[in-house]
């Protein structure tokens, strides 16, 4: 069983370690960067992904070479406790000087005054927001001011098991696949005798309804972030698309089974032939011999229209850092070409710095997987749904969706309940 959580994935295995760590972190809080006596300043940098830690440290080392008077200390907090710890630390004024932010939480931190408005520094800097993926540059802007420098982006594509496809005599997925092709293949690949399912219908938002809702022509949240889009026929169809795979066609393991054994692990064990999974999973799947050998990836099948969802990370500065100038230098470096190139070569994430994406396509992982599929999906993807109160509605909606997945509610019921929850939370924002 895996302990390391994938970046940005909200479904995570609850490992005892992570839980113990979260309690310990809650108790101890976190200490902010060291004192600046003697001209040497330490800047702390909070991150959550242990697979990216070596690259981040490498970038920090490069930065220190160019700036001998600044030391960067990378602080890793597991995803399970990252936000809990960060929020407590930010409230108490002891957040790291700089840290990772994601689309879902950005508005809350910007509106709450927990992160610094970077606009004044940006004006005097070489950093240009037009270098980044437009959706992400927009995602880190709050009321016209930039509060975060985009770090990386992700997209979802269709992972499949070449071996199982071959054995079942099914042609591998192509860019021209539709939802019907997907279902037909899943039905052929499902084999009760061997316990293999054609696909795994995850309920985790990004890998399921956040991807299919825009593909059906709907939206999770209105452009002005004032209204939920769950109670539209398009959204209900997008949810039914997944729940039918479990409850009607029986081509996917149940959500209960996925709770016991994570969907990724099922794919890695050859128990499911297809999975909607993110670009971040490439490094994870390549680390498992079975999926390194047998898995590959294709662009998403098109439902009604091309579409999908892209989440991204940004680097932000704590509003209460004692060293804003040094912290800005570090953010500038992180947002630059060199940092993007180092991340691209690692293959773990797609840099938000657009000109570095070619380097990602040439990373060692590209010899194993068709990484171009992610870039293709990225082009049609919309931004990850968020508002100031994302934390309030996102989990409650997930709970509702789970009820549709298990069949305790119909997709329409779950969609209407979700819209009610979300609209109430959105109304309370202002």
């Amino acid at each position: 069983m895996k302990i390391a959580p994938s970046p940005r994935r909200r479904r995570v295995l609850f490992s005892g370690l992570a839980a113990a760590a979260s309690v310990a972190l809650l108790l101890t809080g976190c200490s902010s960067g060291g004192s600046g006596s003697g001209g040497k300043v330490t800047i702390t940098y909070g991150i959550w992904d242990n697979t990216q830690e070596p690259v981040m440290k490498q970038i920090a080392a490069e930065f220190e070479k160019a700036n001998p008077d600044i030391t960067v200390k990378v602080q890793l907090t597991p995803w399970d406790s990252y936000w809990t710890k960060l929020k407590t630390a930010a409230t108490g004024g002891s957040a790291p000087d700089t840290f990772w932010m994601n689309d879902a939480n950005f508005a809350q931190y910007a509106s709450g005054g927990a992160i610094k408005d970077l606009q004044p520094m940006l004006a005097k800097s070489s950093v240009s927001m037009s270098d980044y993926v437009p959706a992400q540059a927009k995602a880190y802007t709050y009321k016209g001011d930039v509060y975060g420098i985009p770090k990386d982006v992700d997209s979802i594509a269709l992972w499949y098991n070449k071996k199982l496809f071959q054995e079942a005599g099914v042609q591998p997925p192509t860019a021209s696949w539709t939802g019907d092709d997907l279902l037909a293949a899943a039905q052929k690949l499902t084999d009760p005798a061997t316990g293999v399912f054609g696909i795994v219908a995850q309920s985790t938002d990004q890998q399921s309804y956040y991807t299919t809702i825009p593909q059906m022509g709907g939206q999770v949240i209105s452009a002005d972030k004032k209204k939920s889009g769950y109670d539209t026929p398009e959204a209900i169809k997008a949810i039914t698309f997944w729940t039918d795979m479990i409850n009607k066609y029986h081509v996917s393991p149940t959500l209960q089974a996925q709770t016991d054994t994570a969907a990724d692990n099922m794919f890695e064990a050859g128990k499911v032939a297809m999975i909607y999974e993110g670009s971040w999973a490439a490094a994870e799947f390549a680390a498992v011999p079975y999926t390194k050998q047998n898995a590959d990836v294709a662009p998403l099948p098109t439902l009604v229209k091309p579409g999908g969802v892209s989440n991204g990370l940004g680097n932000v500065m704590s509003a209460r850092t004692p060293h804003p100038d040094q912290a800005w230098k570090w953010l500038e470096f992180l947002g630059g070409e060199k940092a993007a190139a180092l991340q691209a070569q690692s293959g773990i994430v797609i840099p938000a710095y657009q000109s570095a994406q070619d380097a990602w396509l040439k990373s060692p992982l590209s010899k194993t997987y068709n990484l171009q599929a992610f870039i293709d999906d990225l082009k049609v993807a919309t931004a990850y749904p968020s508002s100031e109160a994302t934390a309030v509605w996102q989990d409650a909606v997930q709970t509702e969706m789970n009820k549709a997945w298990t069949g305790d509610e119909t997709p329409a019921e779950a969609a209407h309940n979700s819209a009610t929850i979300m609209n109430k939370a959105l109304a309370a924002e202002k």
């Binding site: 929020k87 409230t91 931190y109 089974a257 709770t259 016991d260």
Partner: protein, 327 residues
């Protein structure tokens, strides 16, 4: 903990063993003495209790007072509170999720209480004279108490796994097709309850063992001369004479189980479809207060829980006169 004393003529009324009532009795007895203490003695007394008192005041009592005042406020994202009166309490009492969490908590508490009679039975078996390897058994039963809850949760999670768990493998032998115990709304709370019973038996057993060893051997000798068998001795001598311990264990078990959190958090967790049917009140408090940042609402949740614990414990103390024998 203090042990109950068995009826002796010179000590009536006998001092009850459980800590809660014991402390009041103790205070009443020592009160007249304090006036006689010389100033120096009082100073040293205060100095000696200072570490505990300061810890208690700053880490328990002051936060509790703060939490109480927070329960009347609504929180901003990063600090800052606005006074909203009883709004949080009204919202908590109208929240169906809180109602469900309360039901789950009571179910869990009820299940955990099953460990009390089980522990009495086990203690009686392990208290038999001439039992070989008694130390080994006692250690085995006590082992869950000294094991990290995280480790317990992880191992039981594997046992309960729907695909390859040992529980389903065992049921499979009898042709029963098991479910994903922890991911099913109808089974999750019971699955956790069983783990709770298993992990609290050891601790309770040790308390009962201590209680049983305080029972004079003459009672049993007299009973066996009169022809009472082991079962009759157990029900007529052991069970009545350990009721003070039983009372203490029951009170503590109820208080602890009403505050259950770790097993739910570690074994079910927020992403499970069964979470609404398994979450306890304290889990809901964590979710609202820590994850969703609704500190005021969460504070109101725990104060409603505090009230429930208070009422239940008072009720238990009232009711104890009916069945607890202090000799």
């Amino acid at each position: 903990m203090t042990e109950q004393t068995i009826a002796t003529t010179e000590r009536r009324p006998a001092r009850p063993s459980p800590r809660p009532s014991g402390s009041t009795a103790g205070r009443a007895r020592t009160r007249p003495k304090t006036g006689n203490l010389r100033k120096g003695e009082a100073f040293w007394g205060y100095l000696l209790i200072a570490p505990t008192a300061i810890g208690l005041l700053t880490l328990s009592i002051w936060p509790a007072i703060q939490t109480f005042s927070f329960s009347f406020t609504t929180w901003g994202s990063f600090g800052g509170h606005t006074f909203t009166g009883l709004d949080n309490y009204v919202a908590v009492l109208q929240d169906p999720e809180f109602g469900q969490a309360l039901i789950n908590t009571f179910l869990f508490t009820g299940m955990t209480l099953i460990s009390v009679p089980l522990a009495i039975g086990l203690a009686a078996l392990l208290n038999r004279r001439g039992l070989r390897g008694v130390g080994v058994y006692r250690t085995l039963y006590f082992l869950p108490v000294v094991t990290l809850p995280a480790a317990i949760a992880l191992v039981w999670k594997l046992l309960y796994n729907g695909d390859f768990g040992l529980v389903n493998w065992f049921l499979g032998i009898f042709g029963v097709h098991g479910v994903s115990w922890l991911a099913n709304g109808s089974t999750a709370i019971y699955a956790i309850g069983i783990v709770s019973i298993w992990s609290s038996i050891g601790y309770n057993m040790v308390l009962f063992l201590a209680g049983m060893q305080a029972i004079p051997a003459e009672y049993y000798e007299a009973a066996s001369i009169d022809g009472a068998g082991p079962l009759r001795q157990f029900f007529r001598i052991t069970v009545p004479l350990i009721t003070p311990t039983t009372f203490f264990v029951a009170v503590i078990t109820v208080i602890n189980s009403l505050q259950a959190f770790d097993l739910v958090y570690l074994m079910v967790g927020p992403t499970s479809p069964a979470i609404q049917n398994a979450e306890t009140v304290v889990y809901l408090f964590y979710q609202k207060g820590i994850i969703q940042g609704q500190g005021g609402y969460a504070a109101a949740i725990v104060f409603v829980l505090l009230l429930i614990i208070l009422v239940l414990t008072l009720f238990q103390f009232r009711f104890q006169k009916r069945w607890v024998h202090y000799g």
